[in-house]
Symmetry: C2
Subunit: 226 residues, 2 copies
């Protein structure tokens, strides 16, 4: 059986819903590839338009600027992760096992679920999120963006993970900070592993997955205590 999820996005994220047209979908999908290839700073709507065989002005009809496009892509990613967490922890009784299943999802060490969207390059999107996601909120206008609910998917995911942590240990005091730091640590350490490996203890390649072991140890050692 093969089907795919459609994620409903907050309307504040775009000027015109990119999922409602062929051009819009191509902007998002190619946008992911371009940002992955040349990075956020080097990405321009002109370059993206050239790749799509369209014009800058057409892209501006969908997104106010490239920062909003990034926020959209990142928001989509968080919603997709949240979906995966729900899917993978469904019908699991043990809170420990739920958290065990969470970790590979955060690192995208997953095999496809039946609902994997087949037209979005998830591997590229994961790379973009590692490198660029923090630029979505590390801005001077973070408060305004937050007021527009642009970061709700991230907050929802953190809330979901905080819930799992509290299932595991209802007396743990820092569930939300633990959740957000788990996600961020997974990403930073992935980036460091690949680009500044001396900041990590993961010399080799992802076969043995020391990063996963690190995250597991870090998570459980903290939440197994009061």
């Amino acid at each position: 059986m093969k089907y795919s999820v459609h994620l409903q996005m907050n309307e504040k994220l775009f000027l015109r819903d990119p999922e409602q047209s062929d051009l819009g979908r191509r902007i998002v999908r190619q946008g992911i590839l371009v940002m992955n290839e040349i990075g956020f700073e080097e990405t321009t709507f002109r370059k993206l338009a050239d790749r799509l065989g369209t014009k800058e002005a057409s892209i501006y009809r969908y997104f106010e600027n490239k920062h909003r496009l990034l926020v959209y892509m990142v928001a989509w990613y968080w919603q997709w992760l949240d979906y995966q967490v729900v899917y993978e922890t469904n019908n699991i009784a043990s809170p420990r096992e739920k958290l065990e299943r969470l970790l590979p999802i955060l690192l995208q060490r997953t095999t496809d679920t039946p609902a994997t969207p087949d037209d979005i390059d998830l591997r590229a999107l994961h790379s973009v999120v590692i490198r660029e996601a923090s630029k979505a909120y590390l801005t001077r206008h973070v408060t305004d963006d937050n007021r527009e609910q642009l970061f709700k998917p991230y907050k929802d995911l953190c809330g979901r993970i905080a819930g799992l942590i509290l299932e595991f240990n209802p007396t743990y005091k820092f569930a939300r900070s633990r959740a957000s730091s788990l996600i961020e640590t997974a990403h930073y350490q992935s980036f460091f592993m690949e680009n500044l490996p001396s900041l990590t203890d993961f010399g080799g390649h992802p076969t043995d997955d020391a990063l996963l072991a690190f995250l597991r140890h870090l998570l459980f050692s903290s939440i197994e205590r009061g």
Copy 2:
């Protein structure tokens, strides 16, 4: 007694050493204030030049571009932190106590040391680092920049902290990752606390310092085990 440290900076960080001239020092000091006020993206050499009563071209004689200026400021900060860690842990016998003294330094909850530089606004620089430091390395040219040793101060600080962790527990397997994730967690939890508080458990204001308690718990729970 009052004196101040002079931090020796890597020559690759600048075109002309800003500490060797009045204009250069003002570029760095005012640059910190401008980046703190309007953020990295909005900062331009023109705006900074106007504030200094000088010209864009003069600033370009010191720094290739504003990214390099950011990297310089951040590198200076890491060296300053490293100095503080050395100073505050000097003559302390207990590895636990050393780590206890490290934590307030990372959050800059410190009273001035005798060597505090009096002409750099450390509070502003700390804010800039929290918000902007990751933009120093989250780029497509991170590998080139790393080759030029631009991130050496950060690596040195992580190495120093990893050393303290290994003093505390010589069998701990992830000392370097633990060090880098400790620093990063301190910073983005600070950012979240101020800007996206629902991602943290630190509702109130910095009096009781729940963030410090969180970091302490997170650090010791992980390194007290194998």
